[in-house]
């Protein structure tokens, strides 16, 4: 429903960007520069990369892939990828202007990824978590059978290990090429969240640019804590679909993380720079406090003493009553 919007907008920007780049590149030095989509500043690629892919001038957050996200969010080298043997297939023999098989093939070639999500165990400031990190570069981060399965397995791993679950979303929504099978992934992942809820395990979602459709309407918005990254666009229906339905144009900040904050849909709005520290702090805050055995013993003793004294008092009162009677 929404992939097209994103795809189009992204494509337009990319084309404009490429044209501009081509016009400017007279020599190889040009390749070292990028232009900020937001403030139009010419920036040294390296400066942007050193700044977590955030524009040093206007703080615009460039979209990043799963590899960079993992690097930025988890302790160095701590991410151990799991479920890499879960691979996509083409159960419907789907073909639009291209076959689904070809789309899968070119997505893999383009991104060097097997699917639109990476799952595994990782550490944040030493704390173990089960993590799912989506990648928009692989077919718009769309959720088909494999994405749903891997995310569910990651949640089941959190259940098994009794560790917090963290999902970082970036997706246009459910993958159309798997039709109802994709729709079912919304139910599957949400059922897995229900189990996390019942087990009392912490589930944090981080909504990043962009998060839409079937992902928004399932595990993404079921976090015990929902964090949205600054500037990310997040919603259920795509902007164009809404504009066509209501026949009016929408405010420019519509469906931004800031907009969601205003309407009470997220807990925390975070910059990319603060994200890891924010999550790390939340993990600490939600660690159950265990009362020392010694303290438990003392409290027990005191309460037992009280009960005995109370009993004695009742007994003596009763006696008195008897005497009076």
């Amino acid at each position: 429903m929404t992939i097209k919007d994103w795809f189009n907008k992204r494509k337009e920007l990319q084309i404009a960007h490429r044209e501009l780049e081509e016009a400017q590149i007279d020599d190889s030095i040009g390749k070292l520069w990028i232009k900020c989509y937001n403030c139009n500043a010419q920036l040294l690629k390296k400066d942007v990369e050193d700044n977590l892919d955030v524009c040093p001038q206007c703080n615009y957050h460039f979209r990043i892939n799963s590899e960079k996200r993992i690097q930025q969010l988890f302790d160095e080298g701590s991410f151990k990828e799991m479920f890499t043997d879960v691979l996509p297939t083409d159960p419907l023999n789907f073909e639009d202007t291209e076959t689904y098989k070809n789309r899968l093939k070119s997505a893999k070639e383009k991104t060097n990824l097997n699917e639109a999500v990476k799952c595994g165990e990782a550490k944040i400031d030493g704390e173990r978590v089960s993590a799912a990190v989506m990648d928009f570069e692989y077919m718009g981060g769309s959720m088909g059978s494999v994405v749903g399965e891997k995310i569910t397995r990651a949640m089941e791993y959190a259940l098994q290990e009794k560790i917090p679950m963290i999902a970082v979303t970036a997706s246009g929504g459910a993958r159309m090429q798997e039709s109802a099978l994709s729709l079912m992934q919304m139910a599957k992942t949400s059922c897995a969240v229900a189990r996390l809820n019942e087990a009392g395990l912490l589930y944090i979602t981080v909504l990043t640019e962009p998060t839409f459709g079937g992902v928004t309407a399932s595990f993404a918005t079921l976090g015990d804590i929902i964090i949205a990254e600054q500037g990310a666009r997040i919603g259920f229906a795509g902007r164009r679909v809404i504009e066509q339905t209501i026949k009016q144009s929408l405010p420019s900040d519509f469906q931004t993380a800031e907009y969601l904050m205003k309407y009470g849909q997220i807990d925390i709005l975070s910059t990319r720079k603060d994200l890891k520290a924010t999550i790390s702090n939340l993990l600490k805050l939600h660690k159950p406090y265990v009362v020392k055995e010694e303290t438990v013993k003392k409290v027990k003793e005191v309460s037992e003493k009280k009960t005995t004294t109370a009993k004695k008092k009742t007994v003596s009162k009763k006696k008195k009553v008897k005497v009076e009677a």
């Binding site: 429903m1 992939i3 097209k4 879960v86 691979l87 996509p88 297939t89 419907l92 789907f94 073909e95 639009d96 202007t97 088909g144 059978s145 494999v146 749903g148 399965e149 569910t152 459910a174 993958r175 159309m176 798997e178 039709s179 109802a180 099978l181 994709s182 729709l183 079912m184 992934q185 919304m186 139910a187 949400s190 059922c191 897995a192 229900a194 189990r195 809820n197 019942e198 459709g213 079937g214 928004t216 309407a217 399932s218 595990f219 993404a220 918005t221 079921l222 919603g235 259920f236 229906a237 795509g238 679909v241 809404i242 339905t245 209501i246 929408l250 519509f254 469906q255 309407y263 849909q265």
Partner: protein, 316 residues
């Protein structure tokens, strides 16, 4: 009865038969043989036509303005229905209807999307497209049912959750997501029936059930064929192509293990015979109710989890 475009040859044949009958009445000529001939032709044609409906023809039937809606079905399958209203947070979304009733004496909670029949009605019920408040109203009724140990029946016929400004501001995605997770937790049996259109998350928000049934000509999909065509083919006019590719019919979905059973419709579609449609529906509901009501809360929850846990196809 509104004639669908693909039904025209059949309606033409019937008109011809009427014409012959009129002619027979007016003259002394015996038309019986000719009438019989045309009637047989019409019958054969109808059999052939309705037995081989294409996905886009089924969509036309599923969207037929006279297709039995929530009220038509509830009136015919249950007794003592009492409609409950509101989300208790300021809104009564009329795209969702629901309340307790009995089916053959068994108390149940029936919740569904509501499509109007007239333009005025359709505006009141927003063409069966719920706002987030509708999903929250549905959830309130689910919890009510759980508290009083009533099985839940959902009747789904929606072009999708409403895409609008207020819907986004009040968290359409979250409202649906919460229903998916909460339905998973329920301790009572849940039976979902796709009665007409089962579009996207808007339908799924009422369909995380122990049993998912579907009417013969209903359709159930991740995205409307029009939406899919405009995204993948960049041309909404290619909806028929998208409808084929998306495998949205009951037969296809049974094959892919998305649904559990198909409910037969009268020939040509549910709108031709409400009573027969409701009779078929009631029979299937009772069969499944009896099976599910003999299970414990844990069994129901575990089976529901496993049912959705195993959905999807990955490479071998």
């Amino acid at each position: 009865m509104l004639m669908l475009r693909f039904e025209k040859p059949l309606y033409d044949l019937r008109a011809k038969i009427n014409e012959l009958e009129e002619m027979g009445k007016r003259s002394d000529k015996d038309m019986t043989k000719e009438i019989q001939h045309f009637e047989q032709a019409a019958e054969e044609f109808a059999e052939e036509l309705y037995a081989n409906l294409t996905p886009s023809q089924k969509i036309q039937i599923a969207r037929h303005p006279e297709r039995p809606n929530f009220k038509d079905l509830v009136d015919r399958i249950s007794e003592n229905f009492v409609e409950f209203h509101g989300d208790r947070e300021g809104t009564d979304d009329r795209a969702i209807a629901g309340g307790p009733a009995t089916i053959d004496g068994i108390p149940v909670m029936i919740v569904g999307t509501y499509k109007g029949k007239s333009t005025k009605d359709n505006l009141i019920h927003n063409f069966g497209m719920p706002q987030p408040q509708g999903y929250r109203k549905a959830l309130r009724l689910f919890k009510h049912a759980e508290r009083f140990n009533m099985p839940i029946i959902t009747l789904i016929d929606t072009p999708g959750a409403y895409p609008g400004i207020k819907a986004e501001e009040t968290a359409q995605g979250t409202a649906i997501a919460v229903n998916l997770a909460e339905l998973a937790k329920l301790k009572v049996p849940v039976i979902a029936i796709i009665t007409g259109e089962g579009c996207s998350g808007g339908a799924l928000g009422l369909a995380v059930a122990n049993k998912v049934l579907m009417f013969e000509h209903a359709y159930y999909t991740v995205i409307s064929p029009e939406g899919c065509a405009s995204i993948l083919w960049r041309d909404a006019a290619l909806a028929d192509k998208a409808a084929e590719a998306l495998k949205i019919t009951a037969d296809d979905l049974l094959k892919f293990d998305i649904i559990d059973d198909i409910i037969k419709e009268p020939r040509g579609g549910a709108h031709y015979d409400y009573d027969l449609t409701a009779k078929n529906l009631k029979k299937k509901i009772l069969k499944n109710l009896k099976e599910l009501m003999s299970k414990s809360a844990d069994e129901l929850r575990n089976e529901r989890y496993e049912k959705f846990r195993t959905k999807g196809v990955i490479a071998k």
